[in-house]
Symmetry: C2
Subunit: 360 residues, 2 copies
């Protein structure tokens, strides 16, 4: 097992990464203060891992809430089901929530924990590659609104994150690829040597070699932890983690949640960021091709298949959180492995890139 410490002062917490971690009760119990534990999971994950996690918590008063599965259920109404369960079980401020599932479960459980009685403890047990390398770490929680993704939420850090890569055994190929998009993101945004590692090992990673997966997850979490430690509340550098996300959110918002998986939208978004960087003279054609090839080798989409008009795309981008007083801020690449935040470009350049990916 590898342990990584996310250093956030009084909000610091460990991230455990390895195999068979769901056999080790103390990884959880050391981080539970009270007696009341609410496990939040969904209809897909519950039959696979709920009994296992419950068996680790025999000494506690454990209740559970099983949510419907899917990004389309990442709403205030679904979070309200968690509040219902907490109140029906008369859970008090000393309770702990455990998020058992992917990013949607983690984001909603974290927001419920942030808001229940103005804040209770929670623990992340991410069971998808995407949530293991991204959403479970860093304390961003929240839900979608019909007019925008992740528009409602809170910064609320978990007490620990338990990443058992054995849970990936039950993840389907499409979800696995979607997670790989976020892994690739860390290479592209700030870690050229990790990018080279991924390019060299992508086929072995796609065959799900556990040793390599642990390496990739550990490096992804390390890179994320470093950035989050410098900028917990995303007032600056943390925005780099949104590489591909401004484009990607526009795709998800326009097509409706669930047509593209989040990681799939981010895949297309990263390629659009690369194209935009080429247009600004920073990336070579070869570099853009390298990005595209790595995504394709990860079985990720590199286009929106003509499903979105340029106008829809631009409109959706302008409600993204990364807009400050009307200007669209983008995360672009100076070179492969080095991204930056900018709003200095010609609107026509952005429209050109969008035009290349969309219908007129």
């Amino acid at each position: 097992m590898k342990t990584l410490e996310l250093d956030l002062g009084s909000n610091s917490y460990p991230i455990y990464i390895g195999q068979a971690l769901l056999e080790q009760a103390e990884l959880l119990t050391n981080h539970i203060a009270g007696k009341q534990v609410m496990i939040v999971t969904n209809t897909t994950v519950a039959p696979l891992y709920l009994a296992k996690v419950k068996s680790l918590l025999a000494a506690f008063n454990v209740a559970e809430v099983i949510l419907p599965d899917g990004e389309q259920y990442k709403t205030l109404d679904t979070v309200n089901l968690i509040f219902d369960a907490l109140l029906e079980n008369r859970f008090d401020r000393s309770c702990t929530l455990i998020a058992l599932g992917g990013g949607v479960v983690g984001d909603m459980t974290g927001f419920a924990a942030a808001s229940y009685q103005r804040g209770v403890n929670f623990i992340q047990i991410p069971t998808t590659l995407l949530s293991q390398v991204d959403s479970s770490v860093g304390g961003k929680t929240g839900v979608n609104h019909p007019l925008g993704k992740n528009m409602i939420g809170a910064f609320h850090q978990p007490k620990c994150v338990v990443i058992d890569v054995d849970t990936l055994d039950t993840l389907d190929d499409r979800q696995y690829s979607a997670g790989m998009a976020e892994v690739i993101k860390y290479g592209l945004l700030g870690n050229a040597s990790f990018l080279e590692f991924l390019q060299a090992n992508i086929s072995t990673l796609m065959s799900r070699d556990k040793g390599l997966i642990i390496q990739a997850v550990y490096q992804s979490c390390t890179d994320k932890a470093e950035i989050v430690a410098q900028d917990e509340l995303e007032s600056g550098k943390r925005a780099l983690l949104n590489l591909g996300h401004t484009f990607g959110h526009a795709i998800e918002n326009t097509l409706g949640y669930g047509v593209f998986l989040h990681g799939e939208a981010i895949s297309v978004g990263m390629l659009m960021a690369a194209e935009m960087s080429k247009l600004l003279g920073d990336l070579s054609e070869d570099s853009v091709t390298e990005v595209k090839e790595l995504l394709e080798k990860s079985s990720l989409p590199v286009s929106v298949n003509g499903k979105i008009s340029a106008l829809e795309f631009l409109s959706a981008m302008s409600v993204d959180k990364k807009v400050i007083d009307g200007n669209i801020r983008l995360i672009l690449m100076k070179k492969l492995g080095e991204s930056y935040i900018t709003d200095t470009y010609q609107k026509e350049q952005l429209e050109q890139v969008i035009g290349n990916f969309c219908q007129a």
Copy 2:
């Protein structure tokens, strides 16, 4: 104008108290960072003060959302109306929300500000006595759940609080009395000389003498600010501010929101706390009578009029936030002007007090 600073490190903010403050634009504009301002108010307050506040903000992109009025609308669904308005107007992270109204508007606006895009700025303009002396100060925000009051929320501090006591001119007598309950609370919980001031001046205060009102509001906010500064997140001493609230919330939850106003429920709750303190040997019969008389002179209720059974009351108390792993913590009085937090008493004593106030 009196100015009070609530000292919370980087979350510190000023509280302005006086007359004709809604004529002074800079009290607001000095605390607005971006260009986008959303005024949140309700159907009662909008016709009275919305135009006035808007006229102070000519330099900004101002939008408004007018909520239904009443504690029964203090729900997630109503907060969602604020999110709808923010997103329809494409407000970004740099926006500022202004709560213009009583405690319900303030609590919901604060929670919307805490949660919109994981946190934006907000300003409180409380227009009721209750919100001026209590809910607008200290950063507690949130909404009710059918199973419990204020069960969903966040700690989120405003950028400033503008208390124009002239807005009390439009407050009806019942609401004014309800606010006086929270004023009396500060005397009872920790300020014997303020309690004496109130006892000596209650009839003049009830006749709405502006000079005395400013004194009472200033002292209430001073006492609250001091406690909040010591314990922003209510891990200890701040719970003293809940004097009367554990009992009061049980009344509100059992009867349904709106039958008793919040301040009215707190009035009964404080008298119950006094009776309980008498039972524990701390308060004399005379002291309890003093409490009762002060409440009655403020035209506040001192009983639940036989509307609640003892069993209902006890059941409602056990889901209150102040329950830690099953024990009901109470705020009781050592003497008039000195309260403390305790869970050491006989359950039968609590049942006896509840029995005195309820049907069998």
